[in-house]
Symmetry: C2
Subunit: 276 residues, 2 copies
């Protein structure tokens, strides 16, 4: 018997992965949570039936969401991660020796618990003494956060539908700006340039004028729609230069200083779409 | 009724695409040829059941296989394309005003005929007066080519199995070097860094010492395994700098001069694997 999980990335196309064993299923108050064991990608975490991460390719996404912004800040000490209850982004943040405190704001306690039980290599950092976990809606948390609190805010959200939609609103972006220090940096995942151009244009429009400068960057994530993923970096200080020297010594599997510089290169179709 | 085409990229994973209509099927002397019409990717050309191109994402692959090498030559006039009977690479080569002659060496006449009939936007350049088509095995053709004939040789091959395997041999690379002019450039597709690292290492080993310098580069191609594809650029003149200014005025949808510079950035896992 052969069992295949298929995720439709559009109504007419998708990825299909052979399943070794379904390890876990639960309905949390917020979403369905599944962990599959697969032959090709190791363990796979699904939320509402969509791939959040796989053991095989999660490093690309988590490294790029953490290292590009953190190395664009001169000395990040206090970091907020919104979403990302699996712990992958926190694990990467903790590789930065300057970081003294990481707050993870995750709406769904069961995502954290599932990751701690089934994905120890991804969630390992959640037990670090520098990490605090707050189980709350990210939008509410940022609404109430004190001004100038965080050196970096990293938004590790699900797709921009349902509860996660508010994490891409202009109001939320303004809350993040308010909660950042003077040299603060912001980053968020922003879907696939191949499939979600209209969304990226809208995010670009909403970010206009919020930070000193904001720019998309890109990385290949095999199991995400189209295999090429986008992020946005917002920096309060538009002139801040990345600390590429520090990037060279990071323990990484995807990130390098050369990648850091290169990842901002935009396809012409995106350059033109953003100009329209 | 809903019909889905699935290509396994590994024994345990793949891509799945809903089919509007199967337009064409034939068995040529070399391979099976299919054209599917699909909702998401437009027309799809399959050889031996594997996606060679789709109308929706072929531009990325063809632009990168043509423009990166051609802009690394000071004045490419005489260009050889090996494989690529669909015409997509030739179409991109013809965008370079310096190009006076393009020879397409394709083993399978039926691929050209299928593309001319079903993929007019991809094969359009094949009727250009600068283009000659030779129906022959690429390896044999290069064996017999006169020394110092071509300014650029672009290898637009299928996966390195069966007949295409010889297009990745050290002997073939040496034939290409011999057939190139003093400032000649070589490029070939080299599979996915995510899935085919062992193959890339072997190609890297075989290329060592053949050209003045050879380097991998990368581009996102949604329907190819992992969604991230690699190419190799070999240049006879190791100091040749790309003509980025000329690249800026090319009619492209993916390529930009910024992409040209950025596309050589290698993931750390690849840097380390190639050092082993």
């Amino acid at each position: 018997m052969s069992i295949w999980y298929t995720e439709k990335h559009t109504p007419h196309s998708g990825i299909t992965i052979e399943v070794k064993k379904a390890l876990y299923h639960a309905e949390s108050p917020f979403q369905s949570i599944d962990v599959l064991d697969t032959y090709e990608f190791g363990k796979v975490l699904l939320l509402d039936g969509l791939v959040m991460l796989t053991e095989r390719d999660e490093f690309v996404y988590h490294e790029m969401l953490a290292h590009v912004p953190l190395l664009t800040h001169p000395r990040p000490r206090n970091v907020l991660v919104v979403g990302g209850g699996d712990g992958g982004t926190v694990r990467e943040v903790l590789k930065h020796a300057t970081v003294e405190a990481v707050t993870l704001v995750e709406i769904d306690r069961m995502v954290v618990e599932t990751s701690l039980e089934y994905l120890p290599e991804i969630s390992a950092g959640l037990g670090d003494s520098r990490v605090s976990i707050v189980y709350e809606d990210g939008v509410k948390y940022l609404d109430q956060a004190a001004d100038g609190t965080f050196d970096a805010i990293l938004v590790d959200s699900t797709d921009p539908v349902g509860a996660a939609e508010a994490l891409f609103s202009a109001d939320f972006f303004r809350s993040c700006r308010r909660a950042l220090t003077a040299q603060g940096v912001f980053a968020s995942q922003t879907e696939s340039p191949f499939y979600h151009m209209a969304f990226m244009k809208e995010v670009s429009r909403r970010l206009s004028g919020i930070f000193g400068v904001s720019r998309f960057y890109f990385a290949p994530v095999t199991t995400y729609p189209s295999g090429n993923w986008s992020f946005v970096l917002g920096q309060m200080d538009p002139g801040a230069e990345p600390r590429l020297g520090d990037g060279a010594s990071l323990a990484s599997r995807y990130y390098t200083p050369e990648i850091h510089t290169a990842c901002f290169a935009r396809p012409r179709f995106l350059v033109e779409a953003l100009q329209e």
